[in-house]
Symmetry: C2
Subunit: 248 residues, 2 copies
């Protein structure tokens, strides 16, 4: 098993069935964002799903467990990171269901068939090119900052890939919600449902899950805010439930 | 005092200092929305304030108490309702500070000086022309449905009236939040802060307070959701505080 690992890498269990993932902790490890987005996107079945900016492939890996019939594609701009994602696919024996593509989100409509997919998901960089904390290295910088594709590129790509009535799921910062709504609507992705996520009760939200429907009707539903931690510092019962329903 | 009242009307205390208001219960009585909007708008001082669609004048009346120096204008399309608001102004001896104008929000930029105001507030009709519950009479219909001016008219009017860096405060339905963000940004009113309001913990929000800044920079802050009722059916402590800080 270890022959699949390169220097500085390790294999982590995801808690989603027996799915594992190869990660390089000095570059980037997935966080609760990916788990929340996978859970949010998994409420509605889809057969063909594209993950824009897949990184180490966590979202296709998690969703392959949630949707045992789905075909998944993960697009990643960093070659080394995309190779790592591909090795995770092989080590999970998911080659027939997950394809990792090395490419730029800005070129996705030349790489994949426009209008060909049921769902697109994205956990894009949260910070503008020079916003947020400084990243420690190039891999982290590309994962967290809008260097290789900004929000508009993700939205344009998602809209182009989706069938009419297809679903777009994204997690981002609440501070960008006006940008998200305006860009999505301008690209035929009507926001239908959002869920704010706060670290704990009494804190303002620091993440937001967004579900848009291509060519959907106008009406937004805002779900109750999800708190991650309880007052004792442990996960809230709802977060525990999200983890538990993926272990069955 | 009672000579100021017409048939079917009564005088109600607002709880904001000694400010009272004339209301006709068969037409429309103000609700907690107006109190929450006044409190939300009152965090930042303003000297010249316009209320678009003022109805019985509740917002200028409440804000005259919050901002003892401010000059306030309330615009109302229904003649009978605007007369009632004017009589409330007289009965509170606020004629020097509050002006009620009878006119259409779609004409506001011909009635008042464009670019001349520090703040604009609005509690517009929540429902589209044929959406929501059927109204019992014409006055209620105009107050609750987008018959005499839709969201775009309120946003266009607010933007036109405000100075650069002026503030726009509105309360509306969360289901319209995409419309609100896109229309406001398209009219130079950048959404800066929102607060969702839920009837009680565990319910999705049914109201949203929105604060935009004309020509403001891009960055939205989402405050913690405000719950109106506690599990015993009484007001939450935060709602109690909002009422109490207006009685001092």
């Amino acid at each position: 098993m270890n022959t699949i690992l390169e220097e500085g890498e390790r294999i982590d269990e995801t808690g989603f069935g027996s799915v594992t993932i190869i990660q390089k902790p000095t570059d980037f490890c997935y966080g609760i964002d990916a788990v929340l987005l996978a859970d949010f996107a998994a409420r509605k079945p889809a057969n063909t799903i594209v993950d824009l900016g897949t990184g180490n492939g966590i979202l296709p890996l998690l969703l392959s467990y949630k949707f045992p019939q789905a075909k998944l594609i993960g697009l990643e701009i960093q070659e080394e990171v995309s190779r790592r994602a591909s090795r995770s696919v092989v080590s999970n024996q998911l080659e027939e269901r997950i394809t990792i593509l090395h490419g730029d989100v800005r070129d996705v409509l030349t790489l994949l068939m426009p209008g060909g997919f049921d769902a697109v998901i994205a956990n894009p960089p949260y910070n503008t090119e020079h916003g947020g904390e400084a990243a420690k290295n190039e891999a982290m910088k590309i994962a967290r900052h809008e260097i290789a594709g900004g929000l508009v590129d993700f939205v344009r790509g998602a809209s182009g890939l989706l069938k009419s009535k297809g679903d777009f799921y994204m997690i981002h910062r609440p501070s960008r919600l006006v940008d998200i709504f305006c860009l999505c609507r301008a690209h035929r992705l009507e926001p239908k449902r959002i869920r704010l996520i706060a670290p704990r009760k009494g804190n303002p939200p620091n993440l937001v899950l967004v579900h848009c429907c291509k060519d959907g009707g106008i009406e937004l539903r805002i779900e109750e805010t999800l708190c991650v931690y309880n007052s004792e510092g442990g996960y809230t019962s709802e977060i525990q439930k999200i983890y538990e329903r993926n272990q069955q």
